[in-house]
Amino acid sequence: MSILIKNEWTKLIKKKSAWIMWLLLVAMTFALTFLVRTTAKSESGEVMMKANDLFASLTEMTSFLNLFIVVVAASIVAEEFSRGTIKFLLIRPFTRSQILFSKFVVCLIYALIGTVILYMTSLVSANLLLNSQSPFTVVKGYHGWNALTVAGAYAGANLLLILLYVTITLFISAAIRSQSLAVGVGLGVLFGSSIINSFLNVVMAKYQWLRWNPFNMLSIKNTIMEKMGSEINSPAYLNFWQMAGGICVYSVLIYLAMQQLFKKRDVSLN
């Protein structure tokens, strides 16, 4: 099994695009921090924003990280089909489930490294370009946590989201074998979920069970901040652990469906 993961990792990391996406993440974090610096300057030229204000939310760059992960997950299966290399891969003494699992794991490893890169870059860029501040300073509204912990909580919640995005994208990639459709659906879920959710919110008042729909889980990052009473009473409200559990259940279901489909399909390339 570790052999397959090693192989998949080599194939991914030998691609320039894998490195470009990480580099873009670093470059864009610095660029955004710089933009914040210029807009937050007082007339005297003093930077008004404190480092932790931006660092704690990971420079709001998690969406870009997730976008890159969706691209990786979409290509990792579909590209084997478009290149035609899938036939050399599936005729080895490994089951298709093992091969798909190794691709799934590699997506998550790539995401994990990307998350660490984002975390470090946010910390460094905020302290370089804004009013530097100890990362151990407590951030207001977050249960008395310091900035490192709050940023860590966002990174962790985002990794849970990535888990769901990866399974959805891999599902499309493995079942329909179209890279473009996989990217499209992945991004659709990534950016369109708030639209769907606001529509569902209207219905949720009547049908409370709808708050368990997967799109509602995508707002898990909002549950990290301390909540007001009114929010807790909203029909869509689920706490962090309920959402985390929901994401895991949905991911497992999609993963199993994907494995079933991938196992059965005939592989023919013409």
């Binding site: 052999i3 397959l4 090693k6 192989n7 080599t10 194939k11 030998k14 691609k15 320039k16 290149r83 035609g84 290399t85 036939k87 050399f88 599936l90 005729i91 080895r92 003494p93 490994f94 089951t95 059965k264 005939d266 592989v267 023919s268 390339l269």
Partner: protein, 305 residues
């Protein structure tokens, strides 16, 4: 004894796509140390058969056994014995030939040492290009890299789908030598092709497939034809000779300047004597060697070649 010789046994396999039967009740075997040719016109189902043999496609009926392991239930065990090229060899073209091979070497059932890897690379004559990216490779070079990934783990059964596409005459000769060498080491080889000329020098046995059905399984030289002797005859009075032979119930046809005569037994002497007695001078009499090409065309007459 016979059972042990078979490295691949295909028994009554069928494949339906929708309502269409694309492979119908196909059975054949591949023996150790023998090269079997899978011959048929394009679209006859050769690649579909090979895809089923490596589990890329499922079969609806019948069974496939590789080294006595049933493929559909014992996939991993069966595949440890198989090396294959299916359709065009495709690689990760942003990686070097070596990096590509190492991917497959790692997936092999037993450890492949660097020495072994280099030996395989030399045997396909890629030692000078192995550290270049595959995107710079010619079709012939990719074909040879394809062969390398197939023989890397010393399989008992080698399945090669149109392996000679893109090979120049020198490459063809090297390929034949390599197959001969594998054959001598007891590997059972199945080679598909739509070109008979590719097969004639290589194969011991032949499986002919047409429109998804197997129409011939047997040795390269068709045994049915062996008992028949076909002679070509040229005389100084062809028409007269034909009349005499036809009157004597010989199966005679005109083939260019020759008379083509099918003899059920070797009765050449009687035939010549008969004609000489009738005052006809014999200019030439030769045995017509039925080329495989002609057999193939005849076997596939309704195959829409």
């Amino acid at each position: 004894m016979m059972e042990k010789q078979q490295v691949l046994e295909v028994k009554n396999i069928s494949k339906r796509v929708g309502k269409k039967m694309i492979i119908n009740d196909a059975s054949f075997t591949v023996e150790r140390g023998k090269v079997t040719g899978l011959l048929g016109p394009n679209g006859a189902g050769k690649t579909t058969i090979i895809r089923m043999l490596v589990g890329l496609m499922s079969h609806d009926e019948g069974s496939i056994r590789i080294d006595s392991q049933v493929l559909s239930t014992n996939f991993k065990e069966a595949m440890t014995h198989v090396g294959a090229i299916v359709e065009n060899p495709e690689f990760y073209n942003y990686m070097t030939g070596m990096e590509n091979l190492k991917q497959y070497a790692r997936m092999a059932p037993k450890t492949i040492t660097d020495d072994k890897l280099n030996q395989v690379i030399r045997s396909v004559h890629l030692e000078n290009n192995i550290d270049q990216k595959v995107k710079t490779y010619s079709l012939g070079m990719r074909q040879r890299l394809g062969v390398a990934q197939a023989i890397l783990h010393q399989p008992d059964l080698l399945l090669l789908d149109e392996p000679m596409n893109g090979l120049d005459p020198k490459g063809m000769r090297e390929f034949r030598e390599m197959i001969q060498n594998l054959k001598n080491h007891g590997v059972g080889v199945l080679i598909s092709s739509h070109q008979l000329s590719d097969m004639e020098l290589l194969c011991d046995n032949l499986v002919i497939v047409q429109k998804g059905e197997i129409t011939y399984v047997g040795p390269m030289d068709n045994p049915e034809e062996e008992s028949k002797l076909i002679v070509l005859l040229e005389t100084d009075k062809q028409e007269q000779a034909q009349t005499i032979l036809l009157a004597d119930h010989y199966n005679v046809t005109v083939a260019g300047s020759y008379l083509k005569i099918e003899l059920n037994e070797d009765t050449r002497t009687t035939l010549v004597k008969q004609l000489v007695d009738a005052g006809i001078g014999i200019k030439e009499l030769k045995v017509h060697v039925d080329s495989l090409e002609e057999n193939f065309l005849r076997w596939t007459e309704d195959g829409g070649l």
